[in-house]
Subunit: 229 residues, 6 copies
């Protein structure tokens, strides 16, 4: 169940039995040919699947993250890192006020990882709060699946090309992997990355995508179980 | 069109012709028997309808607002007002960086109105930025329609009971209008408002709801036209 | 009594009997032909009168508010909304530390209304804190008096032209009501509003002004009584 | 002239000839037997006198400063230092927007001196901005006058006992000078300082007070001249 | 050369030829048997060696980072993530003001990586600014060396036991690798990790440590060359 | 002992007996011919000497302070005052979490003195916290020694020319004392102060420097004793 489909009485009823909550955070940023909401859509899909299986609630996804380097690409809406910290703090603090105690933050965007500090800072204020932060794409199982299929996982390539993140047809071929460049003004970043993919194949067969989704889904379910123990 | 269905190239193509953007902000807070996302769902629906008619893009809705007084009701996730100001500033600043110049902020929640200051503060930094802030429920046309049907518009009563905000059956009757109480700890607020409605009828006939939606839709379209002129 | 005429021992003596405090906030901003301090002078006058009648103390008025849209008019000193929130929070927190528990915020300026969120946010931290926020000019009684005299109340017109806010002679006639314009750079605002009045009559007969002052004064006294009950 | 007695047109007329502005900041805090507004009243009086002589405008005084150590004394309203910095920044920034370029900050409170950093930080953003910060009580001339009369200047003793800061009769005698204590919770500070004076004579003859006022007044006038050169 | 050994004239002379600067950031936090400054000492040593070879200047190291999870271990001094962002922003902004344009941030602490966002945010303000962020311990070469010697690199184990980070004798044996635990109050973290090492061998032979240092040193030199090109 | 030479177990052992901590804060800014770290090196040397005598621990020095006025001199790295407040707050808060209760802040830089407010603000939150702030150069004993030797103490002149702050030869003569100038853009400041010294002799005989160091050292020891009583 997700918040949008519930009223407060239903959420109160849930809290009588369970104090876990999934929070989805992502980004609105260029993903080459994929939806600019890709980094929200993937963790949201994982959360929905895990909620169906476990009954754990999903809060409203935060669609914005820290993406200053992509601001020259239209459709990128970036929060300053300090703003992101404040939002996540307020989300956790509010839910804690009502009895939620165990949180699983499902993050879809690499640039957000610095916000994990909020989980530790808040736990020092509220010792009953416990939480996991989950970045699906850096999970070892994802690396193994990719390696087994001879695919390099990277930003906006096949790795994120799920059926639900595609908004147009995708190129057939493969893009060479760009060099690392220094942090610089967003226009330099765009100039360097062109269509926005960080290289490699643009798509992978459906079976590969399913395999990845299933593996990550299982990890989410496992983390929820650990929190519920 | 909304961001979720587009990639950056499509948004860039849009910007070649148009520099308007609709931004939806709302709240995740108790709405009595209605969805806790009610304050997002209504402006989102207005934005979707207006986008279909005018072609103006809709950014990803911010689902959180300032609702400190409702924090004793489960499912209320409130940003400190200072956080909300920062988020709105970052949203506008990011989009401005890419060529958006005219913004229509569709707000669904009374507690957010202080954030309108951001529109003026940013315009002083970026003189090409212009924007309207639209609070559908305080529009005179809504008041007229309500008066014509002998209905009192208020928080979480019939006024917000659209088909798409209902998550359960609604009570049939009418709730007496509670007194004004001082600002106080959220538990006092909950004690005072009980189920969370601010009183009046819980539902209105579909025709009334359609009339209100149509009137507000028309106002949104009109504001978009003014921005485009 | 107001703080300026008291030392701390006298304030301590007051606190032995009463825990109410009036706080005045306003703005320093263009008010057409009227004093740039108009938005402070009016609530300050109401507070002084109510203090005389009830004995409730009045803290030092904060003369600055959020007026970014008027910054092209000389004499406008505007706080960022985030600054205003911080100041109000510190004012309430300080007084609470010493035993004040019930606050009446007398606000003179529309742009400040977003700061009301502070009252609710602080009450969640300090459950003994209770407060009312009073905007004299949007009170229904003011609307009724204006309607009875066929006058349209608006910024810097007759509505605010009390003897103690006048610093020069006022125009005799009436100004046509300007259209609504989008939020934009302050120079556009000045260009649109010219002398700064939002239209209507520049002055009203003394009896009207007295009637309004008396009605608002009575509301202030009533709110103080509610807080003291 | 002070802002309260002017409308924006009059301030604009002033700016045609002069770009100087006096800003008064002080504190609302215990001053033993003297008004809790003492630290505002003194620089305000100096500003009024200097304005009369030079014609330089005086902005609305900020009545609050940084006084965390006195919060156990009723009537002390203290801003966090970070809030004070923000307010002063906004005051200067606003006035600069309208053409003021040279500022004299007349400060009445020792705890505020850290806010002087704002003058330098803003000047780096706005190279045309220049300003002096004036703390009347640490001026060498004040020290000389005090020494000549065998008086020790200190917080809330004779030094600040001007006719316009007195709200009750003052003790006749002399208080022994308390030891320095570490920074600690405000209750410890109150326990240590008792009535709040930092020791020495409670009053001085009128001639001494006049001498001090005149000397400081002259310094203010001199600084205004330097700014106007 | 490092700042401590130079005056401003010498730094100005350097800037005539070179606009690169190394900035060292680290942490003051428990490192089991090693110095609580370990995360500063290692990047500082790398910077000193690279400076000797290349002549690129090294700014004063920031000894504090984001370590909220270790606050139950004495000697841990942690900045809130928001504070760390502000400090890094001020460091870069200040140096940029004087002509430094290319920065290499040598970071010694995993908890700081979220601050990398500052590099991108500032570059959008100052397009001439370019920078690399270097985390020595996650470099692939370090992983390869560790793997070749059958060692698991982790917090406060052999990986960080350089001669210059040792302050006492180290245990001989090996610690089993603790499980992953949720983010929680710092006392839980201490309870879980005991002596503070994250497991594995406490020490490695000098040749291994030299090999790692040399490999990282070479990477630092390479990044400086890229910035200088 | 200083933190860099200790691990957390040693610091825990210290806390079993003592709850005092010395914190050194300074600046990285132009000091004419002296090291740009002068304001750190002096309090650090005092702390080291006092630690040797008393056994009280010294935390890692913060090398940055508030120096906006010197930003036109290469090698000046300045924190905004608001940033400095946050860092000092985090330093004290962290150490307090682990049992430190009495703090001696050894400050080397005049521009930092506004940060003393943090000591009082935090003590109101944590009533067991007590602290002294020590500015060695404004101590009366320093004034007396200077006067006895006919020397004027000032920024970057002989007063700060200790053997350990010298990085080059110093000029022999004397510089005339520059006038006071208004706060203004940093380039104006540099233009006014030239080599950066505020005038007077560039050096003093070793005996004078020793006398000053000994006198300040004694004051530090005395303050530590007061905190330990």
């Amino acid at each position: 169940m997700k918040f949008a489909d519930m009223n407060w009485m239903q959420i109160e009823a849930y809290l009588a039995d369970d104090d876990r909550l999934m929070l989805v955070i992502g980004a609105t940023e260029q993903h080459a040919y994929l939806s600019v909401l890709t980094d929200v859509l993937i963790p949201e899909a994982l959360a929905a699947a895990a909620s169906e299986q476990t009954g754990v609630l999903v809060g409203p996804p935060l669609p914005f993250g820290s993406s200053p380097y992509f601001l020259a690409y239209p459709g990128t809406i970036s929060l300053r890192m300090g703003t992101l910290l404040a939002v996540l703090e307020d989300m956790l603090h509010s839910a804690f006020r009502q009895g939620f105690r165990k949180f699983l933050v499902l993050n879809g965007h690499g640039g957000n990882r610095g916000a994990k500090a909020v989980l530790d800072e808040l736990a020092n204020q509220f010792p009953e709060m416990q939480s996991y932060w989950y970045d699906w794409w850096v999970s070892p199982v994802v690396g193994e699946i990719a390696a087994r299929h001879d695919l390099t996982p990277s930003h906006a390539n096949w790795l994120e090309a799920f059926p639900f993140t595609r908004v147009t047809d995708l190129p057939e071929g493969e893009k060479s992997l760009p060099d690392r460049i220094p942090s610089g003004e967003a226009s330099l970043v765009r100039q360097h990355f062109g269509d926005g993919s960080f290289g490699g194949h643009y798509q992978a067969p459906d079976e590969v995508m399913d395999e990845i989704f299933s593996a990550c889904f299982q990890e989410v379910v496992d983390l929820l179980e650990k929190l519920g123990a």
